[in-house]
């Protein structure tokens, strides 16, 4: 083999998505690598420039926007796609569907049912009630068909053995799906030759989401129901996605000030007066939704919205109060909830987790804190995480103190040696660009409609900093187009 992009690639002591333990290329990556290796030197860097132009012109950005400087950071898309073979994906998909089914059952039972899991000790009642995401106001608010996690983003990682594990559940307003679609559209334009495989499409997401939202229409809704997307507004970092989804579904994107509640019915302000709204896909957090119930200083919400939902005149997706189920301490009980509500063994395992209010587990965790990851139970976006092996003595002492003061507020987990994937590192000002291994995770998107559906693949996030395990885009993460191969596609070139 001649010198090429991968000659100097260091596989490292991790599970590598492309290269097996002996350095051979996994069969489902062979056609892609053949084509990448055939590229002229510098060609990938040239294509990276093209990618940046396309993303910038389309305004696919994620930084906070300000008129003065006007130039946002473009979305970081790596040119080398991640590939998941059909059979492997089939297992992941089954596991995700199972997990979301159980979570929907748990939430429905908690807020409208018998609270069986609590009564029977599957999960401690005090733990549920002390969760920041637990919401008393959600009691009695009907959710048609129990579709509480209408959109779930379940973060999945692969450990040192390549086993897929759930790292966390995002059941409130998970974001990132627009980038799944834009990544695919961009890669087909920038690197068409890479598509050496039959890849399952993702661009039906808008239609699937709309049909799931229709399924949620209250009995009193008009036919077809009027559905809107509720955004906090243009300054929200995910605004691009909110606009994207409204456009994909062909429905209105509204802000709180566009809606008004009268006699427990929600209306939007139009050029011809007020018009009734039946279903709201809201991307505004619980605490900002209704200033009459939650934070009275919220200007993002709609006064009276909860009363309208309680009267069954409008449906909200995702449902209010879902945060209790993506609390990181409640996470440890999800496998138990799967067994309890579905009578099935969980298909996707969790990451081993220490519950720190339990004296024995706490003692065990504190004795080897330098080997564990500590996470606050209610934060997302990678904030507040302390990774033991990389932390200083002061940081460890600080987190130890914090745990001892508030054991309910943290969990500790084994460090997962996230799988790595070859990634184009083009920070060098000259040269042809290098390819190095970087840690990745995966956020698949799961929709609860008439059936539970998973969009093939999801958002693969990349920790762009060398050896970093933090993949969040707010912390310098990148992304990859994620290919799920069509059934029968085992990697043979076409």
């Amino acid at each position: 083999m001649t010198t090429d992009l991968f000659t100097e690639y260091e596989r490292g002591d991790f599970f590598d998505e492309v290269f097996d333990a002996r350095g051979g290329v996994r069969s489902h990556y062979r056609p892609l690598l053949e084509r990448l290796r055939a590229l002229a030197p510098g060609e990938l860097r040239h294509r990276a420039g093209l990618r940046d132009t396309i993303l910038r012109n389309l305004g696919i950005t994620f930084a906070v926007y300000g008129e003065a400087q006007g130039i946002e950071r473009t979305w970081p898309l790596d040119l080398i796609p991640r590939i998941i073979p059909a059979d492997e994906w089939h297992q992941v998909e089954r596991g995700l569907v199972q997990r979301v089914r159980a979570l929907n059952c748990f939430l429905e039972d908690l807020y409208l049912g018998e609270r069986a899991a609590l009564r029977e000790g599957v999960i401690p009642a005090w733990l549920v009630q002390s969760s920041g995401g637990f919401c008393r106001e959600a009691f009695g608010i009907p959710v048609p068909k129990g579709a509480r996690c209408l959109v779930a983003g379940i973060d999945v990682v692969r450990d040192a053995h390549g086993t897929y594990r759930v790292l966390e559940d995002n059941l409130r307003t998970p974001s990132g799906v627009s980038y799944v679609l834009e990544n695919r559209a961009t890669l087909t334009r920038v690197l068409p030759l890479a598509f050496a495989h039959r890849v399952r499409p993702v661009n039906h997401y808008g239609a699937s989401l709309l049909s799931a939202l229709r399924n949620l229409a209250p009995p009193s809704a008009s036919d077809p129901p009027r559905i809107v997307v509720l955004t906090p507004g243009i300054h929200n970092s995910a605004y691009f996605e909110h606009a994207f989804l409204a456009r994909q579904m062909g429905i209105e994107l509204v802000e709180g000030r566009d809606l008004v509640v009268d006699d427990h019915v929600v209306f939007m302000r139009t050029t011809r007066g007020l018009s009734r709204v039946d279903v709201i896909y809201r991307r505004v957090g619980d605490e900002f939704l209704d200033p009459a119930v939650f934070r009275s200083d919220s200007v993002l919400g709609v006064p009276g919205l909860l009363s309208a939902a309680r009267a069954g005149n409008v449906s909200l997706a995702n449902a209010i109060g879902n945060g209790v189920a993506d609390d990181k301490a409640v996470y440890a009980y999800v496998p138990g909830l799967v067994r309890f509500y579905l009578g099935e063994e969980p298909i996707l395992p969790n990451v081993d987790t220490y519950l720190l209010w339990d004296r024995d587990q706490r003692a065990a965790a504190l004795s080897r804190l330098h080997e564990l990851v500590v996470k606050p139970v209610d934060a997302s976006g990678g904030y507040g995480i302390v990774i033991g092996p990389k932390a200083t003595e002061e940081e460890l002492a600080g987190v130890r103190k914090a745990i001892e003061a508030k054991p309910r507020s943290y969990i500790a987990q084994e460090v997962v040696a996230l799988s790595r994937h070859p990634t184009l590192i083009d920070d060098a000002p000259r040269g042809t660009g290098r390819i190095e291994g970087r840690h990745i995770d995966l956020r698949p998107f799961v929709l609860t409609g008439e059936k539970i559906e998973v969009i093939p693949g999801g958002l693969t996030r990349v920790a762009l900093r060398k050896d970093s395990l933090v993949v969040n885009s707010s912390q310098g993460g990148g992304s990859k187009d994620t290919w799920v191969l069509a059934a029968g596609e085992n990697g043979a070139s076409r």
């Binding site: 006007g70 011809r272 009734r276």
Partner: protein, 321 residues
Amino acid sequence: MMLARHAEDLFWTGRYIERAEDTARLLDVTYHGLLESPLLDAASAWRELLEQLYLDQAFSAKGLPVTDSAVTEFLVLDPDNAGSIVRSLARARDNARNVRERISTELWEEINTLFLELHARDLRTDLEREPYQLYRFVKSRCQTISGVSAETMSRDDGWRFLLLGRMLERAEMTCRLLSVRFRRSSRAAVTSDVHYWIAVLKSVSAFEAYLRAHRAQIEPQDVLEFLLLSREFPRSVLFALRASESELVRLGAGTGPTRPERLLGRLRADLEFMDIHEIVENGLLAALDSLQQGVLAVAESVERHFFRAAVRPELHVCESV
């Protein structure tokens, strides 16, 4: 029917794009007109332009001398000047971004790219070295935006508000252009200077259309009539008002004319059936001024009727469509 806030954003997207384009036109014609007529007093020409754009006070607040470079920089690239081309296009982009999901991706891409490219240029150097190229760039890119919107947007209410904004802004700006030129011509005794009127026509891309209509006879009064009253030429005041009116009619609920429709209908009829000699005899500048005020009144009425109406539930509940 559409969300009132979105209608407003589209209306203003249309206005700002048109404003940027027309400002480039006005600058182009003033700047090159001065070069061709070395006897004219440059400072008073620039002052008149600033007055017509209602920006004379904002400019004098800067304490700068009235020179070519100071005024052109103020009108093209000054970020503090709400009426500068750069600011107009930034606001057009802000408004378009607010309704990102309602406009086509191609249209958004055109607006966004124009904004980004303008920011990437060294505008000061462009103004020094090749102002013609810069104005041409702005004009042609604004026209591209119109073309892309016409070819990619459905003729729904969103499209109508976009077009209504553009056309009302255009009617007003053409009035301003005529005021600037006729005020100057009455003072500087250039009324018979053919080159002067050719420049005016060219500044609104009307030269060739005018020649076809008037068989190469260039008379100031004919130029005035053409730019005010042509039914065929898309930048004449009457054309812009008629286009606005037909969009307003379609935007109505079909229950009789709305308030903006009444105002505009009267304004358009007054103009349409007026004799050009009559206008000149009764005082052209006053007529242009009252026309301009009439257009502004229509725009304000559009805002009140469509964007601020849906406030009290008991008054405005309408049937779901």
